[in-house]
Amino acid sequence: MLVFILRRLAQSVLVMLAVAFIAFALFNYVGDPVSGMVGQDTSLEDRQKLRHDLGLDDPFPVQYARFVGNAVQGKFGLSYQQAIPVDRLILDKMPATLELSLTAALLTMLVGVPMGVYTALHQDGPLARLFMTVSLIGISLPPFVVGILLILVFSVNLGWLPSFGRGEVIQIGWWSTGLLTASGLKSLVLPAITLGLFQMTLIMRLVRSEMLEVLRTDYIRFARARGLPNRTVHFGHALKNTLVSVITIAGLQLGALIAFAVITETVFQWPGMGLMFIQAVTFADIPVMAAYLLVGAFFFLAINLCVDILYQIIDPRLRINRGTANGYGR
């Protein structure tokens, strides 16, 4: 177990170093960030001074060593576009993204799991068929299209819910939360549905197929033979066995949610890390791009590591054979 964790940890560190190299390589392939920051009439000396202040005139190895050293301490330099420290920018945006992603994940589980159980137990019922059809549509609609349609119906036509921003936020230390104000909660509804819909259909289909699989086993047949009531068999025996793989996939999907947040945040102008990343790409703001890349990779690897460890703890039968657990495309 310890060996397994250490090996996975070492692997993760290697991947992080590779990602760090890509992020750093970004700096060296770009034209001249200084000319993007200053006006046409800035003198050569001023440009040189700014270049020196930003550390852009040092040799390659020095810059790389400094980059890794600083990144470990969470220092990513100044944003080219806004001229404020990138770590402050990220800490500022992180709560918005995490609140959105976690709400979407919660929604996914609270709606997806019951729907999956229902469709498995009432395979040919009309409601189950409806759920399956809806889930197929949910998988075929790109998230940004879902967002646009929701905005069109609930913001433009009905005027019930806001279509952009986070509403009012309250500061708790450095964390800004929108969960404690009415306007903040109302603003969260549409983005969370947009972000969660795809994962929800995925979880629903997963729970359904796993339930059908488990219900066919001898273990369930014996439970029935013992005369246990249906409810105990379905929820105490069948669902419990299903949850092993559901937890795994759900954990991995949390990483995917943070990634998909890029799209949802753009549609709803949600002031999180994803929107920041897209703006950074548009403005060629390399330090912000590099920082997002590293922070994002860190989140993914941390989540993957936790899921792998959790997997071993929950189900010792299954040694590391995860296959395509998070192989779904988007």
């Binding site: 392939y29 609609l141 790109p142 940004f144 299209v145 646009i148 990634a259 790409v281």
Partner: protein, 296 residues
């Protein structure tokens, strides 16, 4: 064989819809009523014409016009064309890379196998859309602006292709490992058939079923990823609007009431993806009855 290819009504419908949309896209230059890229023919006075069934509609523009007076129907047909071309090309690229590396890893084994599978593992921990976003974003910054504008369609194809190869590689590697040990391959090897011929003549034909299924499903995903990139303003340039670009333009006019600019391209995109997905489901069930009970 014909017995196993039984057609369900939804599969027939999906096939028909796919066929119609693909031919509409391919024939766009001939069947579109207007040329949306001919700037000379655009009349700004026709901008924001609603669809024809609306009171202010104009029969020359059945689905209305956008902010520049472009006919939406024609723009959608041309957009469909771009979406399909990018989707097909990127999946083809992903398949070539993935099958190549998969066969190599499975047939040769050893360090090549290890290297390819490690790379696949690493890439699997990141969602493809993010990888495509990153490759496209880096290319945007690294390439000179005018060069990028000219080749950006190829950049998008490359970005999506590179983000989808893993599934091919893993599947083909697994199947190759199984095929490699079979008697007919051993026999071929014993009588001195060249390894290249064994791979192309014996192994590849036997792994094509699953590859076809993956291709259909990936085609739907690639179309979605391309639309997403274009929607974010990163994909294909505005001079070659795909469905995603059209939706992005329409997104700006949702609040002023011109809903049709975003909604019609969105419906087209969703229909295309849904049809291709249904086709993929059917193919999977048909080619692999074992999987029928555990569809996900």
């Amino acid at each position: 064989m014909t017995e196993r290819l039984h057609l369900s009504p939804s599969a027939v419908l999906a096939g028909l819809v796919t066929l119609i949309l693909v031919s509409a896209g391919l024939l766009a230059p001939w069947i579109a009523p207007h040329n949306p890229f001919d700037l000379g023919s655009l009349r700004l006075t026709d901008a924001f014409t609603p669809p024809v069934w609306n009171d202010q509609g104009d029969s020359a523009y059945p689905l209305g016009t956008d902010d520049q007076g472009r006919d939406m129907l024609s723009a959608i047909l041309y957009g469909l064309r771009i979406s399909l071309v990018v989707g097909f090309s990127s999946v083809l690229l992903a398949a070539l890379i993935g099958i190549g590396l998969g066969v190599l890893a499975g047939y040769l084994g050893g360090w090549i196998d290890g290297a390819v599978m490690r790379l696949a593992d690493i890439q699997l921990s990141f969602p493809p859309v993010l990888i495509a976003l990153l490759i496209d974003g880096v290319a945007r910054i690294a390439l000179p602006r005018d060069l990028h504008a000219r080749i950006s369609v190829y950049v998008v194809i490359l970005a999506i292709g590179l983000s989808f190869w893993v599934q091919y590689a893993r599947t083909v590697r697994g199947l190759t490992l199984v095929e490699r040990e079979k008697d007919y391959v051993n026999a071929a090897r014993l009588i001195g058939v060249h390894p290249v011929r064994i791979v192309f003549g014996h192994i590849l034909p036997n792994v094509m079923g699953p590859v076809l299924v993956i291709t259909t499903i990936n085609l739907a995903l690639a179309i979605i990823v391309e639309a997403t990139l274009s929607f974010l303003g990163l994909g294909v340039p505005p001079t070659q609007s795909s469905l995603g670009t059209l939706i992005r333009i329409g997104n700006d006019f949702l609040f002023s009431g011109e809903w049709w600019i975003a909604v019609f391209p969105a419906i087209t995109l969703a229909t295309l993806v849904l049809a291709v997905n249904l086709l993929g489901d059917w193919l999977r069930d048909t080619l692999n009855p074992k999987l029928r009970s555990q569809r996900l």
